[in-house]
Symmetry: C2
Subunit: 370 residues, 2 copies
């Protein structure tokens, strides 16, 4: 893998805004992982103008849980002795020593306090903002990244499928969430991609519901949202079921509406489509049905090393989809006091000639009565 | 609870460095929770010079999972419509409108980018650093906080106790960790206080070990580290066991050494003791035995709304313990390739006349052969 990371660092070094006097300092954990394969706590990666890459860590530099053995020869590890040394400050000193004139840092990640320590460590260095250059580079995924996402989705579908075969009535949201997480691990996830959400009855359809001691009852809508992380790559699935054999009319109507909106957003996914157009495809259907206010701020977002990374598929987002960008499509409607529906999928944007959007989370979206 | 939070906000407003022209902006999540009882993502709390407290959130302001119903009349909620509004910037505008001259912000939490947006929103406001004023206020816990920690520790002891009664040989670290987390929830934890670590054989004794697919074998050292979060308050226990009936000589010697060092640090806990003296008590014993390099950067740290909050019990820490400060004592030694021992407890500092340090995590520290 170290060649992949080296190539990514070269691309960052060769970014359009780059010049020879500018060194780059990366500190956001997902960006570190993308560029080196690891993200030790508090570490910083320096790309110096002399072509040398240095990972400054607080650890002892030996391979371990957060420092893999295959960092490659092209990446030096500079390990700091104690907890008080600040990796970003040491990296700034290295940049100055390598005759950089400017150091571009991640201002959206560095705190004001760390930025000040960094500035004091290399007073003659001019500090600039790298902005989201690494995040932008992460938008379009390569084949290996998409392969990891496919496996993450497969694990997720398996975990969810097993749950559907078990008895649900009488069990609490909390226990169902834990069981789903256990099944994710059973099938090879390194961890859940995000905290598993199980929401029954009046909680169903809520976006960020934290599982409670509420028990599943006959007639409930049950919303589950889960995802596996595999080799750092995270996906999301969300499904809503009816408990018992006969969904009520309002449940069927609400489900059909959310399903139709979700399908519209999925079908809007294509290279060249504006981010906001994907949101609009779902949002206008929900608004027309009187549920516009129930929809969250975005109908979906990019996934990869993070859940909810760029792009946001929201009304205010500016930009167009590219091929090989994996995103979620996750509309939902929650009616206070009654419950609601969420349906989430992870897909990869593909051109029509490549078969259109590739659905990674393939569990059925029929309204199952469990 | 809202009176408790109001009293805490009053104390922050009346802090020694305060003056009448200075408004305070709190953004670190644990500090928000301490001062309001909740911490919606991205929210900011403004204590204006006119005595009004406002929580600026990105949510709709209705009670929900992250916004409890009992915020109290003394706290206004200012809910922003969309995801693009920046709560800290809106709060800065409110501070300016309330005729503050200075706004003290948490520079150790705010990113450079958020700080810039905030400054642009209220250009006539002078920005200052609040520093760790709230963290300092959180150091000494009140009775309710300590009661929550006691329950968290009780839950943790129960979960660990049940694991010890089950068969361990042949099971993977990952599965044991998941089972421990399930048991924490079973006994009433809202969530694990931190990712449960299970480390067997050559992994045992590592501080931050992420559970792997390695299976527990006869003769292994097995280190488990877990903790419950109860009402937001987090504790930590760590124990090391031997699998099988006859620990090897090196295992007995290493265990006795770590146990002796851990006891020395526990016994050093008293009001007025320097933080570094607690570290030294354990460290000098390990150094004398030739394992000084194996010890991490600190022998323990404060616990409360966070694991590893202030104070750090480290060689470089400056300050003295107070009564009613809960801390962990968690030394460990890991021998590469062989394994090692960690023993972690959560205790509350008490004066001798109050019976000395109060041990919250009461699971035995004898070397059990399981």
């Amino acid at each position: 893998m170290s060649e992949v990371h080296m190539a990514r660092r070269s691309r960052l070094r060769d970014r359009p805004a780059a010049d020879e006097a500018t060194a780059v300092l990366v500190s956001a954990p997902a960006n570190l992982r993308y560029l080196t394969g690891c993200a030790p706590p508090g570490a910083a990666l320096l790309l110096a103008p002399d072509g040398r890459d240095t990972l400054v860590t607080r650890q002892d530099g030996r391979p371990g849980p957060s420092l893999p053995p295959d960092l490659g020869d092209a990446l030096r590890v500079h390990a700091l002795p104690g907890p008080d040394a600040e990796p970003v400050a040491v990296a700034a000193g290295l940049a100055a020593a390598a005759r950089a004139a400017v150091l571009a840092v991640e201002e959206h990640h560095l705190t004001v306090a760390r930025h000040r320590v960094l500035a004091a460590a290399a007073p003659r260095l001019r500090l600039a903002d790298l902005g989201c250059a690494v995040e932008r580079q992460r938008l379009v995924k390569d084949d290996e990244e998409i392969a990891a996402l496919r496996i993450a989705a497969e694990i997720t579908d398996q975990a969810l499928g097993e749950l559907l075969e078990s008895i649900l009535v009488g069990r609490t949201e909390r226990h169902l969430a834990l069981e789903l997480e256990r099944r994710l691990i059973d099938h090879g996830a390194e961890r859940p991609a995000f905290p598993t959400s199980v929401a029954t009855g009046r909680h169903s359809g809520l976006a960020g519901h934290v599982p409670s001691d509420l028990r599943v009852e006959e007639g409930d809508f049950l919303t589950v949202r889960l995802g596996a992380s595999y080799r750092g790559y995270r996906c999301r699935i969300g499904r809503t079921f009816v408990i018992g054999t006969a969904p009520a009319d309002w449940q069927i109507r609400l489900y059909d509406l959310v399903f139709t909106a979700q399908r519209a957003a999925r079908e809007a996914l294509a290279p060249g489509t504006e981010y906001r157009a994907v949101d609009r495809a779902a949002r206008q259907l929900l608004e027309a049905a009187g549920y516009g206010g129930a929809l969250g701020p975005a109908v979906g977002a990019g996934v990869g090393l993070e859940i909810g990374e760029d792009p946001a598929l929201s009304p205010a987002a500016v930009g167009k989809l590219d091929a090989c960008v994996p995103v979620t499509v996750e509309p939902g409607v929650h009616l206070p006091g009654r419950g609601g529906v969420r349906i989430d999928d992870t897909l990869v944007v593909r051109s029509l000639s490549d078969g259109g959007p590739e659905l990674l989370t393939i569990t059925t979206k029929e309204l199952l009565a469990l």
